[in-house]
Amino acid sequence: MKKILNDPSDLVPEMMAGMVASYPQYVRLIPDTTAVVRNDKAFTEKHEPRVGVVSGGGSGHEPLHAGFVGLGMLTAAVAGQVFTSPTPDQIYEAIKAANQGRGVLLIIKNYSGDVMNFDMAKDLAGIDDIPVESIVVDDDVAVEDSLYTQGRRGVAGTVFVEKIVGAAAEAGADLKTLVQLGKDVIAQTKTIGVALHAATVPEVGHPGFELGPDEMEYGVGIHNEPGYKREKMVPSAQLAKELLGKIGDQFPGGLADKSFAVLVNGFGATPLGEQFIFANDVLHQLGEAQATAAFTKVGNYVTSLDMTGLSLTLLQLTDKHWLPYLNAPAATIGWGDTRNER
């Protein structure tokens, strides 16, 4: 394992310290935690109170979540150990820091650990009479969804949920409205990922699984969870076809005549150039399928340490407010420029 690190057990606090030291205009650390809260003047110099939007999860997915804290997206974010849900006490601190008197919405990725820890934090905040609601993102269509499972995992589509809900919160929406908005967006968000090389958790020291020199794993999660099949490498265009097919199956009536927001998301070690080649194939094939890409992002948004591979997310824009929310101003480390209007 070759990584730029000091003691692996200090990874998370050092990373968060580096983030706030590099970008004090966006985030500051909440004392005695590895959670961050907005530090921009619009927030610190007390503006109109908004509903706080808090997310978090295990580390190793940077820029998620702390990189999306700022005006127009998250109010606070909590970083757990690598691939490990943060603890309730830290989430509770983030809730308190984010609350401006109008309550707090928690955006949780659907993992047992995350759900349980956020639930315990909600209980703690309940004692303080802070109104807290939560939504659970489960966009990973690689996983079978049935009565007999935990439901689907929350993966890269989370960033669309954070952007839209964050923009609505910034626009002044109340907690109840945000819960419904979040649930509606989640229902239309579908993601599938593929890995060329698994991630190496620093404290483990070797890749989570081994792939042959010409193998690809379809349907991987963002914590080295194996996927639904392992096959020989295929060209980008064929990969796009497979992933679009899987996602298209999730939308009643397929892709045709629908309008989507598209996210091509690198897993951490995949060059941006390859992501653009894949995006080219995806957008081309969407066009052939009579579907529209009204919004596109290409880059590393929800990573998995040094995993090689990428995921494709389609969010069907079934509500006319969602595209303006995606294009609304946001000032964060990770979302990029927001002069997106075409």
Binding site: G58, P88, Q90, G113, E225
Partner: protein
């Protein structure tokens, strides 16, 4: 059960986890995300430091100290689950309960409630619930615990990370069940 026994229990459990850290992580690599050993190791270290700092004198305080350490240091799925187990034991002890089977019953029920898992879902609940029932019957011993742990192997996971694997989770021990087995066996040692 008394404070000294609980402290002894935690020492034994801590040593067992340290010894099996890589093994637990390997089990979790097979059907999860490979961190269970590290999570538990972080937890038992925090428990020892917490007990040294809090110096609890009664059973309820002791269990609560352990619960808070686990809840605030482990994270993941096992943090809230093990934390809830000790929190429930603390609540029971506060109501003057110090009978081991009764305490275990409270813990097991708490774990099952927190995670929403049933016996057979291939989680630590597969060990907790039957073990608590056996303890009530005075029939809990190492062989019984080993059998409960081993029984998770052929199952298909329906809760937790392993459930995302579907059929592929079959044929592997559940890591949380294995660490729960260690917890219960060290409990028997500390209280025998």
């Amino acid at each position: 059960m008394n404070v000294e026994q609980v402290k002894q229990w935690m020492q034994l459990f801590s040593a067992e986890i340290e010894k099996n850290k890589d093994y637990l992580s390997q089990l979790d690599t097979d059907i999860g995300d490979g961190d269970h050993g590290n999570n538990m190791a972080r937890g038992v270290k925090a428990v020892e430091a917490g007990l040294a700092k809090d110096q609890p004198t009664d059973l309820a305080q002791t269990f609560k100290s352990i619960a808070m350490s686990l809840i605030s240091k482990v994270g993941g799925a096992s943090g809230p689950l093990y934390g809830t187990a000790f929190l429930e034991m603390a609540k029971a002890a506060k109501d003057d309960e110090n009978d081991l089977p009764a305490l275990l019953q409270a813990a097991a029920a708490g774990v099952a409630k927190r995670g929403g898992a049933k016996v057979g879902d291939k989680t630590m609940v597969d060990v907790w619930l039957p073990a608590a029932a056996d303890a009530k019957q005075g029939q809990l011993n190492d062989a019984v615990i080993d059998k409960l742990v081993a029984a998770t192997k052929p199952l298909r996971a329906l809760k937790g990370r392993a459930s995302y694997l579907g059929e592929r989770s079959i044929g592997h021990l559940d890591p949380g069940a294995v660490s729960t087995g260690m917890l219960l066996k060290t409990l028997l040692q500390a209280t025998k």
